[in-house]
Amino acid sequence: MKIQQILEIKELKKYYRVTSGLIPRPVGDIKAVDGVSLTIAEKEVLGLVGESGCGKTTLGKTILRLEEPTSGEILFNGMDVVKLNKGDMRKLRGKLQIVFQDPDSSLDPRMTVGGSIEEALVIQGIKSAGERTERVGALMEKVGLEAGFYERYPHEFSGGQKQRIGIARALAMDPELVIADEPVSALDVSVQAQILNLMMDIKDRDGLAYLFVSHDLSIVKYISDRVAVMYLGRIVEMAEKHEFFKDPLHPYTEALLSAIASLRPADKEKILLKGDVPSPLNPPSGCHFHTRCHRMIAICPEVDPAYREVAPGHFVACHLY
């Protein structure tokens, strides 16, 4: 049985040109996304973790073509999204949606929440006002809000409720893939659980796939089917969830996992990473991680390790394997 891949990214790159001087001339590129390849299957949740500034959000936005990719392919149901013209892209957008991190900024403060959800339907060309109203009501119920909230404004809602509205808007056109860009990290813990459960329920019912961006491994462990780790614009390890948490290979993954809060901290050996993420404008030579790696060997600063499949479904980019 072949698994239907809904999204397939090949060698995706997004560079930002950095210029300086009175007459701007390029001084380098920020390699926010530097050759990322991954796949997401139908109804699958791929957790994407990494420190802030490693390119997680940019990757998400590039997949949606909110940022134009520098190079690479983004195949959505076999169709290359990068090559689509504006009109075709607009038609596709309903199927490829995003949920944002900050619920305060993701809703227009001057528009009713019903209006915000309905805008999705208007843009996607549903002409009948009656049908739109009905669907907005259904969407609001789906995310656990009363349809009577239609004419309320975002400032009248709590963070969790706003996030539900954001989810409803993303679901408006029955998407097949939703990029969830840290959808719960701005919420407090009890609300986080509610939103995560809501997202899982919706996934099970509607059969959609998530690219779940997060920096919180315990959330990723809860929600994902597979996990990918990003460091400085590259994916350094990707594996099926149980394998990932049982047998992490990349030293960076080890360090991240050791940082999960535990009820018995004494049982665990903490791996502390030194310093910050290096600047993506001027990444270290060889393996980007060697400056902070606790298992560095002689070859690391010299050669960039290949991203290889070391066990079935387990990919890693490290010289140790």
Binding site: F100, D108, A129, T133, G148, Y153
Partner: protein, 320 residues
């Protein structure tokens, strides 16, 4: 009125520039600022005066030299005439008259009528010129922020160039060339006054442009037009209102100054024109200059207080 009972219109054909509950919220905040309310009260009074006053008052241009330089009610002037036969001064006292409660000027024109006429002119010029200026400012500011890149650069440098012109000198020059008329004055003030608004709105729109709800609309495939008119402009609307309120006094003063130096519209009686008349007779009839002065002072003060209050009411971080 129960908020739940508001019917679901169920569609957003038009952008929601004004909505009842937000307006209510801002009004509640504004109400706490008493100075601002007083300002609003005076503006409303002035508006009513400007709209209905001229229908009720006498003709402000009516000249009657028999009653020239009448003082306001409650004041009186003394006139001493040297009598050559008796070698004494005969002194007559002119008290103010109830049919001219604010007195008359050196041509016997009724001050009250002139002031009422002036309030209409001042408000009209203030509103129209500010309207033109803010329309241009909003358009260029939002456009500049939204387009970004070289278009933004070009528009902002153009704004800088416009800002370097000494505005009043330009006004005098153009009035000198095209002749003094209210239309010209309104258009010139409008066409030169948009620069500050454009800059402010651009910076506001720049920060809005990167907010997630704009990105969300883009992710849904919204057109540039939709984003500008349904999201950007409604979100800078409060800024526009505040700027309008705060820029009206400047425009009123500019018109008054122009009339004062004799370059105003000769066919209309504005406060500046009255001031100009009063200037020549300050020693004999002080009220001719003082009365329009007070009106200008109160008007400018009211708009400023009201604008300040509005700004605080619209600013979610300000405690009122």
């Amino acid at each position: 009125m129960s908020e739940e009972k508001i019917s679901r219109r169920g569609m957003i054909k038009k952008p929601v520039y004004i909505n009842r509950r937000l307006v209510r919220y801002y009004w509640d905040r504004l109400k706490k600022n008493k100075l601002s309310l007083a300002g609003l009260g005076f503006i409303v009074f002035l508006a009513l005066l400007g709209i209905f006053g001229p229908f009720l008052a006498a003709d402000p241009q009516h000249v009657d030299f028999d009653i020239k330089n009448l003082p306001p009610l409650g004041f009186s002037t003394q006139e001493s005439i040297y009598d050559i036969k008796t070698n004494t001064f005969a002194t007559t006292v002119n008290p103010g008259r109830p049919d001219h409660p604010l007195g008359t000027d050196s041509k016997g024109r009724d001050m009250l009528s002139m002031l009422i006429s002036g309030s209409r002119i001042s408000l009209l010029v203030g509103l129209l010129a500010t309207g033109i200026a803010l329309f241009l400012g909003t358009f260029l500011g939002v456009l500049s922020a939204y387009l970004g890149g070289w278009a933004d650069n070009l528009l902002m440098r153009f704004t800088d160039v416009m800002m370097t012109f000494p505005f009043f000198l330009l006004l005098v020059l153009i009035v000198f060339i095209f002749g003094p008329s209210l239309t010209i004055i309104v258009i010139v003030i409008g066409l030169t006054g948009w620069t500050g608004a454009a800059r402010l709105i651009r910076s506001e729109a720049l920060s809005l442009r990167t907010r997630d709800f704009i990105t969300a609309s883009k992710a849904l495939g919204a057109s540039d037009n939709r984003i500008i008119f349904n999201h950007l402009i409604p979100n800078v609307a409060s800024l526009i209102i505040v700027m309008a309120t705060l820029s009206i006094p400047g425009v009123i003063m500019a018109e008054a100054a122009l009339s004062f130096i004799g370059m105003g519209d000769p066919m209309s009686t504005s406060w500046g024109t009255i001031l100009n008349t009063g200037q020549h007779s300050l020693d004999t009839a002080w009220w001719v200059a003082v009365e329009p002065g007070i009106m200008l002072f109160l008007t400018v003060l009211s708009f400023n207080f009201f604008g300040d209050g509005l700004r605080d009411a619209f600013d979610p971080k300000a405690s009122v």
